[in-house]
């Protein structure tokens, strides 16, 4: 299918994670380069950008945040996935608006990571090749349209940039408008492969979702908080 092998940069100071992630992705047919810290990675990737980057946050010399900033400065479309090991860390990183395409909490499932990588490449191919036809009609609820194949959302025909996790949570809410989804259900939808995240993390994702839609439409109020239960989509 792929004509040119896609290169994935894996940057983590944990040798075991580096090795297993690289092994799994190579099995899926990608080229993988690994680096033990941000500095070592930057020395190499600044000359030749990879097709996708998987970054740990806490690393010696140069942390993942700085590396992400530098990569973003070089490319707007390069998909970046963050690996975090603390809820507070995730909150902090989400607040920084680094423009990463997804976040996974350690200990993550390799299957989940592989699925996200696949989704991000699919999305990328659509952005680079917008003439490609929709194989399937998008899911439309009011002003919202969700393209389930490319994991892309539009509001009044304007594109809203969502991370894969945000997209999956939004999809879960929109599938049954008016029905309340508990935080536990949203966790399951956002992280289908059993990754443990706290309720607070879900709240942070929802907060970000709302903000992104409000940027597109200041009157956006379709995601409703049901106190003590969860969230629901009101059409």
């Amino acid at each position: 299918m792929r004509r040119v092998k896609q290169t994935i940069a894996v940057v983590d100071d944990e040798e075991t994670i580096r090795e297993t992630v690289a092994f799994a992705l190579r099995r899926d047919g990608y080229d993988v380069v690994t680096f033990p810290d941000g500095g070592a990675a930057w020395d190499v990737v600044k000359d030749k950008l990879p097709s996708l980057a998987i970054l740990d946050i806490t690393m010696p010399r140069m942390d993942g945040l700085e590396l992400c900033r530098r990569l973003r400065a070089r490319s707007d479309t390069l998909p970046i996935i963050f690996l975090t090991s603390r809820d507070e860390e995730l909150d902090r990183v989400l607040g920084l608006e680094l423009g990463a395409d997804d976040y996974l909490c350690k200990p993550f499932s390799m299957r989940e990571l592989a699925a996200r990588v696949k989704v991000l490449f699919r999305r990328l191919s659509f952005i680079e090749n917008p003439s490609a036809q929709h194989a399937e009609a998008p899911l439309k609820v009011g002003a919202l349209a969700l393209d389930l194949q490319r994991y892309m959302a539009t509001w009044n025909d304007a594109r809203v940039d969502l991370t894969v996790t945000e997209f999956m949570m939004l999809h879960a809410l929109v599938r049954h408008p008016g029905h309340v989804k508990s935080r536990k259900q949203l966790t399951k939808e956002g992280y289908p492969n059993d990754t443990y995240v706290s309720d607070r993390t879900i709240d942070t994702h929802i907060k970000r979702l709302r903000r992104k839609f409000e940027e597109a439409d200041p009157a956006f109020a379709a995601i409703e908080t049901v106190y003590g239960v969860g969230y629901r989509w009101v059409a």
Partner: protein, 519 residues
């Protein structure tokens, strides 16, 4: 009902109430004095009666021994009057015939006594209030006075009162009569005048208690004044004490109540008073206590977060490795992933041991048995053990004499071995780690210097943070570095009242200086 009783009990057990009660009790002592004066008054009356009796007997004896009783009586009275001088002024002596007529009267010699001035003390408003309040205590006594009309014999031709009649019959008699205006008591004492077996008349001595009582009333009034002033002072003192003791205590109680929220969690802390008294001390002690507790809670929370963070990395490795194990058939690869899992499990075990160690150190340092440990000998043994390892050499410079500290030997070994291992792990192959021991009377200083890459300035303060690891050449597996070694060292050295400071050498490499107080 029960609630009211509880309320009363609570009110009675309040410190301010008890202080007031004690102060007032103290004030009631003068009242006891007043009561004592009551019995003193009784005693004075008895004394007076006896004095009058004596006077009457002397008069009777003098009259009886005179040849002509009638005429002589007046002369005798005159003589006695001269003899006794002013004292007799208030004592009225009369000689009475068997029929009750006055034969002689000392008043006719000196004239009547000055009219009784109104007893000012007794008319005083305060006195009347006090007398009214204390009346129940005096009741039994006032009834002792027979109520007879004042200067009993003033207008009578014949003096035939009870005491005179009993004297004329041969017995001595005494009567106390209250004056018509009820201001004073007059004591009458009559003695028979005997010639042989016949009673030829009676000698009557009488005296008003006016003066004595007046003095007594004045004293009583004084005591009453003192009492009232004392009550006022006691109330003011109690109030002052309450404001300086009870109010700050109540303030502390309110703060204590505010600190814990409904679920019993620490919310705030004591503000700490600026007062210099014991309550100020208490409030400052409580302030320190809550601050310490708060720090501890924070420490535990951040420690738990750090620990869970540290465990997530090996867990993530194990998870991904086991997922791969399930999907890979190749024996070589399977072995590789299994090896990874084993390594990560070993790392979690050493992490657990380190966490356990670091949480126990504080408790263990306070209970462990400390002996005098010679650091020089200890270092020599440790260095000997390290000589066989690796390709880094260790140089030990120590003074000729022993350097002793009060410590547990195992703990000291832990300190030196951890720092030494750290130095060796950063040393280049063929490098030298130099240990220098110096000691004086108060401090034992050990420096451990390596020739490695040194510590970045930004990290100098962080090397003792738990889980801090910074290994630029990550060639060794992470399993051997939990990031707790130096944190444990610092906890031990601090526990012994010493210090440990890292610095960079001018020629490259890092030096750790460990200072311990000498035994």
């Amino acid at each position: 009902m029960k609630r009211i009783a509880n309320r009363i009990r609570r009110f009675l057990s309040r410190i301010s109430f008890r202080l007031m009660a004690f102060n007032l009790l103290l004030v009631f002592l003068p009242v006891a004095g007043i009561l004592y004066l009551g019995s003193y008054e009784q005693k004075l009356l008895g004394l007076q009666r006896r004095a009058l009796q004596e006077e009457a007997r002397l008069l009777a004896a003098a009259v009886a021994s005179a040849p002509v009783p009638g005429r002589a009586a007046q002369e005798i009275l005159l003589e006695r009057h001269r003899l006794r001088g002013n004292v007799t002024e208030s004592i009225r002596l009369r000689v009475i015939s068997p029929l009750g007529h006055i034969i002689a009267d000392s008043h006719s010699l000196s004239g009547p006594p000055p009219p009784q001035r109104a007893n000012r003390a007794k008319r005083n408003f305060l006195y009347r209030v006090g007398a009214y309040l204390l009346r129940p205590l005096h009741l039994s006594r006032t009834t002792e006075y027979p109520l007879a009309e004042g200067d009993y014999y003033e207008r009578s031709e014949r003096l035939l009162g009870a005491e005179v009649r009993s004297a004329l019959q041969g017995d001595s008699g005494a009567v106390e009569r209250i004056s018509p205006d009820r201001r004073s008591v007059t004591v009458y004492v009559a003695e028979p005048i005997r010639v042989g077996d016949d009673v030829i008349g009676a000698a009557l001595a009488s005296q008003s208690t006016f003066r004595i009582l007046q003095d007594l009333y004045t004293v009583r009034l004084g005591i009453l004044r003192i009492f009232i002033i004392s009550v006022i002072v006691a109330i003011i003192l109690s109030w002052l004490v309450a404001t300086t003791i009870v109010r700050p205590v109540r303030q502390l109680r309110l703060e204590a109540g505010a600190i814990l929220d409904r679920r019993g969690r620490l919310r705030g802390r004591f503000r700490g008073s600026r007062k210099h008294d014991e309550i100020g001390d208490l409030s400052r002690a409580l302030e320190r206590l809550t601050r310490r507790l708060d720090e501890h809670v924070r420490f535990i929370e951040s420690f738990a977060a750090d620990v869970s963070h540290e465990f997530k990395n090996p867990l993530a490795s194990i998870r991904t490795a086991t997922e791969m194990l399930a999907e890979v058939d190749e024996q070589e690869q399977r072995k590789r992933f299994l090896r990874m899992v084993e390594l990560e499990i070993a790392r979690m075990e050493s992490l657990l041991a380190g966490v356990r160690e670091i949480t126990m150190i504080d408790a263990q340092l306070t209970t462990e048995v400390r002996t005098r440990v010679d650091v020089r000998g200890l270092l020599e043994r440790i260095v000997e053990g390290f000589r066989l390892r690796g390709n880094v050499s260790i140089a030990l410079n120590s003074p000729p004499e022993a350097c002793e500290v009060n410590a547990s030997e195992d703990r000291l070994i832990q300190v030196f071995v951890n720092v030494l291992e750290n130095a060796i792990s950063f040393s280049p192959p063929g490098g030298v780690v130099t240990i220098t021991l110096t000691c004086d009377a108060s401090m034992i200083v050990t420096t451990i210097a390596d020739q490695g890459s040194g510590i970045a300035d930004a990290d100098l303060l962080r090397v003792f943070d738990r889980f801090f690891t910074h290994r630029p050449d990550a060639t060794r597996p992470r399993a051997s570095h939990t990031g707790l070694g130096l944190a444990i060292v610092k906890a031990i050295v601090d526990g012994y009242g010493g210090s440990i400071t890292p610095s960079n050498n001018k020629g490259g490499g890092a030096t750790f200086e460990i200072r311990l107080p000498a035994a």
